[in-house]
Amino acid sequence: MSARDEILGRVRSALSGVSPAVDLPPAPRAPDRGDLVALFVERVEDYRAVVTRCSPDDLGSVVAEVLGSASSVVPPGLGLDVAGSVVDDGLAAADLDRIDAVVTRARVGIAETGTLVLDHAPDQGRRAISLVPDLHVCIVDAAQVVADVPDAIALLDPARPTTWISGPSATSDIELDRVEGVHGPRTLHVVLVG
């Protein structure tokens, strides 16, 4: 018998006589928190990420200022001119490792948890580009901010890869003390538009 058939057989015999019906209560919703965008900013900053708010007209200059003299890579569909940046066309990991920063958009922002979710559409690019460079500049529109995790889940397409980002890379592995800066970008700079 194949391992598959044997395991499925064991599962069925383990559950013989067990009713599969389980009452599924809906997960509760957090109460209304008022100004979602303000909450989002507060919660993102709580992770020691940097947040800059700007108008759509100022976006280009704000991003340029955040980058300063850092070399950068952008996804092909960013929809913003970033002077001097390399447009990703499938760069090797080693090449990405030599670039200081990446600028991407996001799919959704979650206010309750201060989370950005990328679904790696053309304005966000491949997963590798927002991972290897040490500075991640992530542009999110105020209108993209939702209240809580279930709202984000409902918006996301599970067929796409998604990356949920809550602050810069961090670890609590030494004495359970949180320190920022391990393998992912050590600096997360969120540019909130609108």
Binding site: I7, L24, P28, R126, D148, I153, I174, V182, H183
Partner: protein, 496 residues
């Protein structure tokens, strides 16, 4: 390479050794207090935490109770998304599948995301025997691996090490397996994390094959989910050409929207954060992005045994958050090694016997490694009633000895008690003897309990095991029935 739990002594022996290690107790007390406070703060923020727990428990319970259907759906979704699905009855079969994928690609190393399933099956040791180095990339796993040590916590396997010890391990060992630690390495956690970043970066950039586990596997979409902090997970899941994920069959949830209560419950219960820094989800192969060859190994290794246990089945709801370890008064004092398994603490005390049975002495000792205080049940995000399962597993241990040719002293004592209690005459005789013992102890005992009642000190013989760690109160000098006879049930006025 890390050590092995094979040959560990039973819990009472291992616990005694651990308790004597004052450094270990200091490290554990500090770390568990830190994490308990953080968890309590972020859980208090959620007004309907209890309802969220109920919803999370229901999602996992529903998936378990129809597991065969969900596994078939998961397999079909994964295959449709371009993944190759393997099934492994046990640890050896799972390790062989991973080794064969690595061999196919001619690699002598793989990078690993922290994964309890691969620790459970001893994958690193199995790959080493096949000439393949498995590099742990989670910081705590790296500390354990470089220190030839054993994991002692589910979330933070190096919780028993303090910063000074970590610095020593990095300085001594990093150079043997890659980029050495910098000469000016201090014991600042930020600097230690920086050393790990520099050490592992070259391994991430060159790795062809990665191995992961999964926190959740969504049946209807074929999506795997990895919840992490450092970005080492993202590195392994994104940069290599080939990804092999070893997933216990109990990780299944039915639908994408089922992830909602889980992703709200896990980070708050685990690291005490509103959300962990990084969560990755992927469904098979994404053309042009990430690994283009994706394997998923669905692992049984005792899970169907646990599934068949009506009381113990709920343990398979576990999402490996470690909240039960951090609140456990036993774990906090003895640490994880004493449990002799990659699954320590309260959840380990039920999971190991459920997965493996109680035939060996070490596993059979685990259900007793608890005071049944119930703190673990209170914090469990999926409401596993650990104390009830512990009691049920204790019964399983007793049942497994019913046919013994030489019965255990406890069984003999219980038989004798049953014989005594089944006759009024015999019980009266026993009560008179016990009253006499009470009077003797009351006069000669040098141990007094709070409140003034005398207690027996350490008794000799078969009672030593009990009295060695506990005070046995002196029996009352008069039994209830004697008091009733003497006072006519308290009606004659001489009651006291």
């Amino acid at each position: 390479m890390s050590g092995t739990f094979v040959g560990m002594p039973a819990f009472p022996t291992a616990a005694r050794e651990a308790l004597a290690d004052t450094q270990l107790r200091r490290n554990l007390a500090h770390a568990t207090r830190t994490i308990r406070d953080k968890r309590a703060a972020v859980v208090a923020e959620v007004e309907d935490w209890e309802e969220l727990r109920v919803a999370g428990a229901a999602v996992k319970e529903a998936a378990l109770r129809d597991l065969a259907t969900h596994l078939e759906t998961l397999e079909a979704s994964l295959v449709a998304a371009g993944a190759t699905v393997h099934w492994a009855r046990d640890a050896a079969e799972a390790c062989a599948i991973v080794a064969s994928v690595a061999h196919t690609h001619g690699v002598d190393e793989v990078v690993k995301v922290k994964s309890m399933a691969t620790a459970e099956i001893g994958l690193n040791e199995a790959l080493e025997a096949e000439g393949i180095a498995a590099w742990e990339t989670d910081l705590a796993e790296l500390i354990v691996q470089l220190g030839d040590d054993l994991p002692s916590h589910i979330l933070v396997p190096a919780i028993h090490r303090n910063r000074a010890e970590v610095r020593e391990i990095f300085r001594r060992r990093m150079g043997d397996v890659g980029r050495p630690a910098p000469d000016d390495l201090t014991d600042e956690p930020a600097m230690l994390a920086g050393a790990a970043r520099a050490h592992l970066r070259e391994k991430f950039l060159r790795a062809k094959v990665a191995v992961s586990g999964a926190n959740f596997a969504v049946a209807d979409t074929g999506t795997l989910v990895v919840v992490e902090s450092e970005g080492n997970g993202r590195m392994c899941l994104t940069l290599p050409d080939v990804l092999v994920s070893v997933v216990g069959i109990e990780k299944v949830v039915a639908t994408w929207s089922d992830l909602d209560p889980m992703l709200r419950l896990l980070p708050r219960s685990s690291t005490g954060e509103r959300m962990n820094p990084y969560t990755s989800t992927w469904s098979g192969v994404t053309p042009g992005d990430g690994p283009q060859e994706v394997h998923v190994v669905l692992l049984d290794n005792g899970r169907t045994r646990a599934l068949a246990d009506d009381v113990g089945r709920q343990a398979l709801r576990c999402i490996r958050c470690s909240a039960c370890l951090n609140v456990c008064p036993v774990y906090e004092r003895v640490g994880g090694h004493a449990y002799g398994s990659v699954y320590p603490g309260p959840i380990g005390a039920i999971l190991n016997p459920l997965l493996n049975g109680v035939a060996d002495e070490q596993t059979a000792s685990l259900p007793y490694a608890s005071s049944l205080c119930g703190a673990c049940f209170e914090v469990c995000p999926v409401r596993i009633d650990i104390p009830s399962v512990l009691v049920d597993q204790r019964a399983a241990v007793v049942d497994s000895h019913r046919g013994d040719r030489v019965p255990k002293p406890e069984a003999v004592a219980m038989k004798a008690a049953a014989w005594t209690f089944s006759s009024a005459k015999r019980l009266a005789r026993a009560e008179r003897a016990s009253g006499l013992a009470g009077r003797v102890l009351g006069r000669f005992s040098r141990t007094t309990l709070p409140g003034g009642r005398a207690a027996a000190g350490r008794l000799p013989g078969p009672a030593a095991g009990w009295t060695g760690a506990r005070d046995l109160p002196a029996p009352p000098t008069e039994s209830f029935r004697e008091w009733w006879d003497r006072t006519d049930g308290g009606r004659d006025g001489s009651a006291r």
